[in-house]
């Protein structure tokens, strides 16, 4: 399943699962991720699964590239561990107060606001990975007629909770952060909670996410219920 294993610097192993982005390749990445995580090999101190790569970082004081590479080549990856995914509904308010880039998306896609939201909402998206900033989920795939490029000039500050699109993906800004994705709405819920150390992320790789529209009033009252 791994097409090629190489080194990323002197303290990480780079596992390449291919160049395409699809659920089947990503499921393989997640299988390896789960298997290695469970087994706790000496010296491995971090794992970063992404669409089609897995990066394994290790402590150079405890192990080295050849040891970790041989270990990865030797492990038995089992399917049984992966069946932990859940389905999560994310409320999103697409009021003009939040949908900063909807005009841009309308123009680029030549679709009306209504049509864009109709295409985006109430559909199942697969979580390929989380990261960049703590807890940010990378979700896909958007319909073929919904794909826009990043902003030409990224924003210095994208508000916390922003729901945004780029290419075949959607994401949620878990913190205020710089970013270049097209913002079309905002969610009032906390997608990352650092006080829950064992499970800080609401959405994890392999989960399914559905965006449900809420009104501005519902948004404002959301955290008072």
């Amino acid at each position: 399943m791994i097409k090629n294993i190489s080194n990323l610097g002197d303290a990480a192993v780079y596992c390449d699962f291919g160049i395409e982005v699809n659920k089947s390749i990503n499921s393989n990445v997640i299988k390896y991720f789960n298997s290695i995580k469970e087994k706790k090999f000496k010296g491995i101190n971090n794992l970063t699964p992404s669409y089609n790569k897995l990066i394994i970082s290790y402590d150079l004081k405890l192990t080295n590239f050849n040891e970790v590479k041989s270990y990865v080549e030797s492990i038995n990856v089992t399917d049984s561990i992966t069946s932990v995914s859940k389905k999560i509904e994310i409320p999103v308010c697409c009021h003009e107060m939040f949908s900063m880039d909807i005009k841009r998306v309308e123009e680029k896609l030549n679709l009306s606001r209504e049509k864009i939201l109709d295409n985006f909402l109430n559909k199942e998206y697969f979580c390929y990975m989380t990261g960049f900033i703590a807890g940010m989920p990378f979700l896909g795939d958007l319909d073929k007629n919904m794909r826009v490029q990043r902003l030409e000039t990224p924003r210095v500050k994208v508000p916390k909770g922003s729901v945004a699109l780029t290419e075949q993906f959607a994401n949620i800004y878990t913190f205020e952060s710089p970013g270049g994705w097209n913002v079309i709405g905002n969610t009032p819920i906390d997608v990352f909670d650092s006080s829950k150390e064992d499970k800080p992320n609401l959405i994890n790789p392999g989960d399914t996410v559905i965006f449900k529209e809420i009104t501005l009033d519902q948004y404002k009252n959301f955290n008072e219920q």
Partner: protein, 314 residues
């Protein structure tokens, strides 16, 4: 209420609590963080008789000015740092790599780092601070760690919950060596760059930009031309990765980096040079030198032995 504490009269530019950092969290988007210059961090703790993985205050450029209240306590500063110790009737210029005893009412004023970036202030004891995922390291981006994940602020009070009973004064002669050549291992997208671009990367000088912080170090210099694609499908990053975005200026990922990135990776800084890399201040010249994996691993082992040897002399 604690009886031993210090008040921050001036916070400095980027003063944070740091320790060895966090592991096993890249997959949820949380980087290692931790002290940028690991050797100086360990030496600070050893000089005050702490466990080596204890919390210290890391500062950049200008450090904090603090006033201490409570029982006698030891402190030490490491790095290349200019600081003063003010007692009731005297004010002295302090030396790095030497522990000092202070008492109620004394002040420590960390004026600046000298042609370097980071310095470390350790107290012989334990701060009363929050730990998350076994680390106090402050990650200001996700507001994780001590002090609600925010850098220290002027007017704050920091409590100590324990003071070490052993207050022996310790000292070591140590000078931070500077390097101009940063050794790098070829990155996974090395072939995305033109022959000319590769040549520029290894032969020309780059300047450390002012836009550098705990997340990344930006470099300015001749542009490195990409002939394949200026974006890749987003994938994991580690500290030391050198990404080259469309503008052709390299960015080196440092300890608080975003865990995922979509720019091609031209190289990765060898672990042996990381402590010295982070100490290069804006305006410094950097040249990259290629090294292979096996040499990089060997040199890191030697560097680590040297660190252990220094610690054993304290």
């Amino acid at each position: 209420m604690s009886n031993n504490y210090f008040d921050i009269i001036r916070s400095g530019i980027n003063s944070t609590f740091q320790d060895k950092g966090r592991e096993h969290l890249y997959h949820i988007g949380i980087p290692f963080s931790g002290a940028m210059d690991n050797r100086n961090y360990l030496m600070a703790n050893k000089l005050v008789g702490n466990k080596l993985d204890s919390a210290v205050i890391e500062f950049a450029y200008q450090g904090p000015h603090i006033k201490y209240s409570g029982e006698k306590i030891n402190f030490a500063i490491t790095g290349d740092v200019i600081f003063k110790i003010k007692k009731e009737h005297t004010e002295i210029e302090g030396n790095c790599y030497e522990s000092y005893q202070i008492e109620n009412g004394d002040e420590i004023n960390i004026i600046s780092t000298n042609k370097s970036v980071y310095g470390y202030l350790a107290f012989g004891g334990e701060f009363d601070i929050k730990f998350q995922w076994n680390s106090c390291s402050i990650n200001t981006k996700a507001n994780i760690g001590a002090n609600n994940g925010k850098k220290l602020d002027t007017g704050q009070r920091i409590n100590l919950k324990k003071i070490n009973s052993n207050m022996d004064i310790k000292k070591i002669n140590y000078i931070n060596t500077k390097i101009e050549n940063i050794r790098v291992i070829k990155g996974t997208n090395f072939d995305y760059f033109s022959e000319e671009g590769k040549k520029i990367f290894y032969e020309k000088e780059f300047i450390v930009s002012k836009l550098s912080d705990r997340m990344g170090m930006r470099l300015e210099g001749p542009k490195i031309e990409n002939i394949v694609n200026t974006n890749i499908k987003s994938e994991g990053l580690i500290k030391g990765v050198i990404q080259v975005p469309a503008d052709g200026n390299p960015i080196i990922m440092l300890s608080d980096h975003g865990t995922i990135g979509g720019y091609p990776k031209i190289g990765v800084v060898a672990s042996v040079d990381y402590d010295r890399l982070v100490q290069m201040s804006p305006g410094s010249k950097v040249k990259f030198k290629e090294i292979n994996l096996s040499d990089a691993q060997t040199l890191f082992k030697l560097y680590e032995m040297e660190t252990q040897n220094l610690l054993s002399q304290i």
